[in-house]
Symmetry: C2
């Protein structure tokens, strides 16, 4: 048999034409979102004030297995998809493992991550609905960049509230967003009621993601022709991100491989949920078993140390409540460099699957993750994002287990993005200045004690 | 006929297995390098003290048409090659041009540019020769990054002298190099004779590329087991970079297209020379005509306003002399953000071809180049490097000429890299703070008056 190439590229015509809704295969469906005021399940009409109509339909649909991807979105996907499935020959050699390691590389686009897959979908439905624009928040800036690119494509106004400290300390991401025509406002700002209130109470504040979310939502609901969009956690986002998993499966089929272990980093769950969707579908239907592993930072261990309960999705407690593994909406992780994994909760879909035993979870210290990142960079040539490096560390550990056991398993992990805008983190790692603080049980317990009572 | 896809990918087995030496088709060969002391043509033995033996052989060979690419290099190429040839459908639509625009995208690897194609070759021959390591200089850092990656692959020591002002102001590039295990020293340093001398004379100096070259060369020739490597200008570099042009041609053939116009940015000439090599070969042999255009910054116009003469390759006047279009080795361009295009000279091969009328050249102001860059980013999704954006501007102008004339020409340009580490430049552009200074005739004349007399 011919040697499997380093990069398995599907052809453009092999890009999936439908997204896969893993909820359709779940016996226990993810719990519905609750209205923060009434604590009753949110109805479509309520959600449509905040989100686009068609996205609300996708959000609430637990049964339809496939959603056709509109041609306009497919056209955009063709600019950077199919993304390559890479065979990590050199990493395997470096580790001396009999395991076969594959990774789906989603960083080969200017946003530098998988976020674009859902950004373009959300921008499309906003345009189709005749909206003027969308609002969102961004911390490190990956999601904001992706959304700015998507809005530039559809000539939509894009209003990004960027956490003030990031706005000031990460000017590069900000300029990428501006290059794509987005307006970027440091949050808290004087543009919104909630921003002015916070500024009056805390004049010197450098902002928080919770506050930026609140400003973006307020801007969307108080301005005609605007809606709010979100880059992770939501069911609709996992639906769009299923394109990652569908392509991965098609590429493996193409070279006659079957995955044994599937690994992804997990913050809000968009990448992991997308990657595993079709495999999880097979597992749920009992067609094939896969070991599926979520990797999270030890500093923000929602799956491994959180509680499966209803909680607010935002720190401002204005957004709907979701049933999920959570550390409490007030939980603030110790400073780490995986900005995309610092979320207190987790996608309801993944939370339910984890709760039902279909998925495992591990957590790693930051320094160990960066060691894995550097080993990977030197062997595979790609400089990984800190978030993605959690999956790398997970894959390396599984490959080393295979080495010990002498097993030739097939490991597939998601390499969600590149680390070009994270070099401050690498610098700290090189200089031995990286923090590995892990929250104590008491700290986590204190936040969990404040979870909302939903009966 | 099926629509040509957005991305034309060759298969891994279609990566060229030989580099093409365009000198073999030239009637007027590029003039030989001269010894800076004797002003006589450099012999192989003289060059081998500075460069690896096999690279010297490649440097001096004006006749052999093809050099087999060693398997070890091909293996490395497979990690990021073939690079995609993209069809710029969206840009065409934006411009309303009947022209067909293609671009060869070389930024899809962690070094972010085409530099890796030659870095891996030079590292390979150093390893093969049993050397301990290589030395080089870097300004903006693209070449240093590429070399660090290549050296990590072959476990070679990599010693980079980085212009001090860049070392301090561009810490991100520095950290990428360190991630790949390179040692990065701000230049001037106390590690070399020349560095100490310059520091004594100019205690507060922020360094220059000329000084960094001198330090790198000194380190290589005074340390056993080291050689010096260079990322552009040299014949050997253009040879390695021919892989760009060979792939481009193969991809066009695959979809049944013929190029009419080929455009590349030109600093030292590595990208342009590599891109045009096989097309130029056909043109030189009279098989087919192509319009070939070099694009340079108006602030550093070596082809459009320089002189075809022997000159030093470095500002320190310690390196060999090359016959080339030059602005004088003392010429310092006004500050601009295309660090890779700030070289006072030009590859001897390209200089000879331009002199003989096989190539055209144009120059553009920086602000116009960034306008083109932003238009491109918003339509094609890729954030281009400032250097590459010169070629974009050239391609847009040609496409607009086609629009005016109603001609459906096929334009191919080289998109050498991404701009992730150039966001300071984009910020200046967004804030209207960009300088467009162009040297006066008197300024250029003063430097040209000091060209060495070589009889």
């Amino acid at each position: 048999m011919a040697k499997i190439p380093y990069k398995i590229y599907l052809e453009e015509k092999e890009i999936p034409t439908s997204w896969y809704n893993v909820r359709s295969a779940m016996k226990n469906k993810p719990a519905p979102l609750l209205n923060p005021g009434t604590l009753k399940p949110m109805k479509a009409e309520e959600l449509e004030g905040v989100f686009c109509k068609e996205l609300v339909a996708q959000e609430l649909d637990n049964d339809t297995p496939f959603f056709k991807i509109p041609d306009e979105i497919l056209d955009f996907y063709k600019m950077y998809r199919p993304s390559p499935l890479m065979r990590a020959y050199r990493l395997e050699k470096q580790l001396g493992t009999p395991a076969k390691i594959y990774y789906k590389f989603e960083g080969n686009n200017t946003s530098g991550s998988h976020k674009l897959n859902s950004a373009i979908a959300q921008a499309y439905y906003a345009k189709k609905q005749g909206l003027k624009g969308v609002t969102t928040e961004t911390g490190a800036g990956q999601w904001g960049t992706a959304l700015a690119m998507a809005c530039a494509y559809f000539d939509l106004d894009c209003k990004v509230y960027m956490v003030k400290v990031s706005y000031e300390q990460k000017p590069f991401r900000r300029e990428v967003m501006r290059t794509y025509g987005a307006s970027v406002t440091p949050s808290p700002s004087t543009e919104t009621e909630v921003g002015r209130k916070i500024l009056a109470e805390h004049p010197g504040t450098t902002g928080s993601l919770g506050c930026a979310i609140s400003e973006a939502v307020e801007k969307a609901v108080t301005n005609e022709g605007y809606r709010y969009v979100l880059g992770s956690v939501l069911n609709q986002v996992l639906l769009h991100q299923s394109v990652i998993g569908l392509e991965t499966k098609a590429a493996l089929d193409k070279v006659g491989e079957k995955a044994d272990i599937i690994i992804g980093c997990a913050g809000g769950g968009s990448n992991l949920g997308g990657l595993v969707s079709p495999f999880m579908g097979e597992k749920l239907r009992g067609e094939r078993d896969y070991k599926i592993i979520a990797v999270e930072p030890a500093s923000c261990p929602s799956l491994t140390r959180g509680k499966f309960a209803y909680d607010f999705c935002d720190t401002g407690m204005v957004c709907p409540l979701a049933k999920m593994y959570t550390l409490g909406s007030g939980f603030i992780p110790a400073p780490n460099h995986a900005g995309g994994l610092r979320y207190h909760g987790m996608s309801s879909i993944l939370s339910q699957l984890y709760h039902d035993g279909y998925m495992e979870a591990v957590s790693y210290n930051q320094t160990d993750v960066f060691e894995a990142a550097e080993l990977f960079a030197r062997s595979e040539g790609i400089l990984p994002a800190p978030e993605s490096s959690h999956a790398i560390k997970g894959a390396i550990d599984e490959a080393l287990k295979c080495k010990e056991a002498g097993e030739e398993k097939t490991i597939v992990f998601g390499l969600t993005g590149t680390g070009y805008f994270d070099m401050v983190a690498y610098e700290k790692f090189h200089n031995g200045e990286m923090s590995d603080y892990i929250p104590t049980d008491d700290e986590i317990g204190a936040y969990l004690a404040k979870l909302p009572k939903t009966g």
